[in-house]
């Protein structure tokens, strides 16, 4: 299968400022590697502060990484300049979590969608018709053309954002919690639209979310992040059926399922959920999960576990599965 995106040893540290010098570093993303294949949805899950959003933005070069390589269709994103960078900006897009701040409140829908089109020099015969067609493809219509964002509901705004992205005919879209600010009934709508568009245009998605149910529904493959580290990567089905990393297991057992019987069952065999994620400023040594891990051994406290392939395509970074 063709790789659209390859992330190699990506690191992003944010400085913690002291008076004159940097006091320390927030290791938001610390040496993660994964790839995304054409036409698939790669889900990235984790709790707040685990670095999933930073990963998404760094891939698009909205934040400069501290170290590592990002290859987009074989080209090193960090080295792109001029026209090539412009090409990348067109081919790789992002959809944000908060529909209330992702649209400029002073622009009409028409301007919001046409601005990138004009900037990228895409030839359009009739701009109005072009925008109306886009709006229709995401479930809006020509009535909305000259309205301002504040006249729309959250779900509609996400559709406008989607239309803006579609206008550039991208290949790869980072979806950064696109539905977490929306109600469930609206969420289902947006998720279905995203799936339909992927089928029709062959988009590749990086789907970032903290909602395991949504990730399961959307993703073909997925990665689980904890404190800046990728702890488990594999096909979504396999991870849900057979979570390997103790953190993944804990996460899965903590989700409340919308089914009382199943909930009772799960609750009975729920692993004890312990503690809260520590601060990423001074993450624990060794395996970062060890202070909360029920299976922690000596080696976990000292050395970082390597990523190993336990079954086909299913990788995990845990000393339970690796040989030291």
């Amino acid at each position: 299968m063709e790789k659209v995106l390859e992330v190699k040893h990506l690191k992003k540290y944010f400085p913690v400022k002291g008076l004159f010098f940097t006091k320390g570093w927030v290791k938001a993303v610390d040496d993660i590697s994964f790839e995304i294949y054409k036409g698939e949805t790669f889900g990235l899950v984790g709790e707040s502060g685990c670095g999933k959003t930073t990963t998404g933005r760094t891939i698009l070069r909205l934040i400069e990484p501290t170290a590592g390589e990002i290859l987009f269709e074989g080209k090193n994103v960090m080295e792109l300049k001029g026209d090539e960078l412009k090409w990348f900006r067109r081919k790789a897009q992002i959809m944000f979590q908060d529909p209330y701040s992702s649209l400029n409140p002073r622009q009409t829908v028409f301007e919001i969608i046409m601005e990138p089109v004009r900037f990228h020099g895409i030839e359009v015969d009739d701009p109005e018709e072009f925008v109306v067609n886009l709006l229709k493809s995401v479930g809006l219509n020509e009535m909305h053309l000259y309205r301002y964002p504040h006249e729309f509901s959250g779900g509609q705004r996400q559709r406008i954002a989607l239309a803006r992205i579609m206008a550039l005919k991208p290949e790869f879209i980072v979806l950064d919690e696109p539905t977490s600010a929306l109600d469930v009934s609206v969420q289902a709508n947006i998720l279905n639209t995203l799936k339909d568009l992927q089928e029709k245009h062959g988009f590749t998605y990086l789907f970032i979310s903290h909602d395991l149910g949504v990730v399961k529904y959307m993703s073909h493959r997925m990665g689980v992040m904890y404190l800046g580290k990728l702890v488990e990567v594999g096909p979504a089905d396999k991870i849900f059926e057979n979570p390997l990393h103790p953190y993944t297991q804990m996460l899965l057992s903590a989700i409340p399922v919308p089914d009382p019987e199943m909930a009772k069952e799960l609750k009975a065999k729920r692993k004890i959920v312990r503690g809260e994620p520590p601060s990423p400023i001074n993450p624990p040594a060794g395996c970062r999960f060890h202070p909360r891990c029920p299976f922690a051994k000596d080696v976990c406290r000292k050395e970082e576990p390597p990523m190993v392939e336990v079954e086909k395509d299913h990788h995990v970074a845990c000393w339970l599965y690796a040989k030291s």
Binding site: E47, A188, K216, D259
Partner: protein, 326 residues
């Protein structure tokens, strides 16, 4: 027959805003039984939060409680209408017999006072302790009971020195400080991560058992409802559309909205080919749809739905629905 602790009748709250009168909740009625966990579920703006706050007159201007009764059955058997109490009387009930936990623990605590002070204050204002100083001493025990490690030192912490989960534990601590009869938890875990959410929900359950309290849980998360609630009321656009036990609601949902909602949530434990979305959007409550407020989005809507407001009907034991289909 379970014994009611709270009976809400025809509770109506309007907000007099710039754009017009927002009919936030309209003639909401339900009973809460002693010792149960009663969940109010619904989407943003359906009025669940307003309902919970209206119970103790916690409605700020421009909102106003237009009509209704909230009958509170005290331990000693007397019944009072909470909406008829004056400011001082209701103040004595709030935080004492009926306590709240709000959604956002960051915003709920005053940033300029230590957590010990804030817990102590809650006890002091209800005369449970002589002074706040004494309250701070007792706060140590409370922090311990909400499973905060090292409570002796934590009482001296300011809110910003605690993590989100810890803050919510403090908020819960304030809630249970006076051993309330009813604990109203308004989206207590929405601002928290999944793993922390599980801990907080467990904690609320434990405390409920320990103090024999009744819990009213307000949430939009059906998973949380399935896991913790005994009975559920589903709200849509300011009205209750369905009430029943948690099994009845999840296994045999009657209202088209409840059905749609359940099908729209992806369950991570099952394989779903395609989610079913509810078409349309939530109506604005200034000019709500006539008749049944759900009719513009309802696949089964008929003429009568547009005209007549459906009343709650008991379909099976304790299972009420407000829909013209039945």
């Amino acid at each position: 027959m379970p014994e009611p602790i709270l009976q809400v009748r025809n509770l109506t709250v309007h907000f007099y805003t710039y754009a017009g009168i927002v009919k936030a909740i309209e003639r909401v009625s339900f009973d809460v039984y002693r010792g149960e966990t009663f969940a109010l579920v619904g989407e943003t703006g359906c009025g669940k939060s307003v309902t919970s706050r209206a119970l103790t007159q916690l409605i700020e201007s421009p909102g106003r409680i237009v009509e209704g009764e909230v009958l509170y059955h005290k331990e000693d058997g007397t019944v009072v209408d909470l909406l008829k109490l004056n400011e001082e009387q209701i103040r004595e009930i709030r935080g004492n017999e009926i306590a709240y936990i709000f959604q956002d623990p960051h915003a709920s605590l005053d940033p300029l006072y230590t957590v010990g002070y804030q817990i102590g204050e809650a006890m002091e204002v209800h005369g449970k302790v002589e002074s706040i100083k004494e309250g701070i001493k007792k706060a140590v025990d409370i922090l311990r009971s909400v499973l905060i490690p090292d409570p002796e030192n934590r009482v001296k912490n300011y809110p910003h020195e605690l993590s989100g989960g810890m803050k919510q534990r403090v908020v819960i601590g304030i809630g249970i400080a006076n051993n309330p009869k009813i604990l109203i938890a308004d989206e207590p875990t929405t601002a928290l991560d999944v793993t922390v959410q599980a801990q907080i929900l467990d904690l609320i359950n434990q405390l409920k058992e320990k103090y024999k309290a009744t819990v009213i849980l307000i949430t939009h998360n059906l998973g949380v409802v399935a896991e913790t609630a005994d009975r559920v009321a589903v709200m849509y656009a300011g009205k209750i559309v369905e009430i029943g036990s948690v099994e009845q609601i999840f296994k045999n949902p009657l209202h088209p909205y409840t059905k749609g909602l359940l099908k729209a949530v992806p369950n991570p434990m099952t394989k779903i080919e395609r989610l079913e979305a509810i078409p349309g959007t939530v109506p604005n409550l200034i000019t709500p749809p006539s008749g049944c407020r759900f009719h513009p989005r309802c696949p089964f809507a008929t003429e009568v739905c547009k005209r007549k407001v459906p009343e709650l009907k008991e379909m099976e034991d304790g299972h009420f629905v407000a829909c013209h289909l039945y």
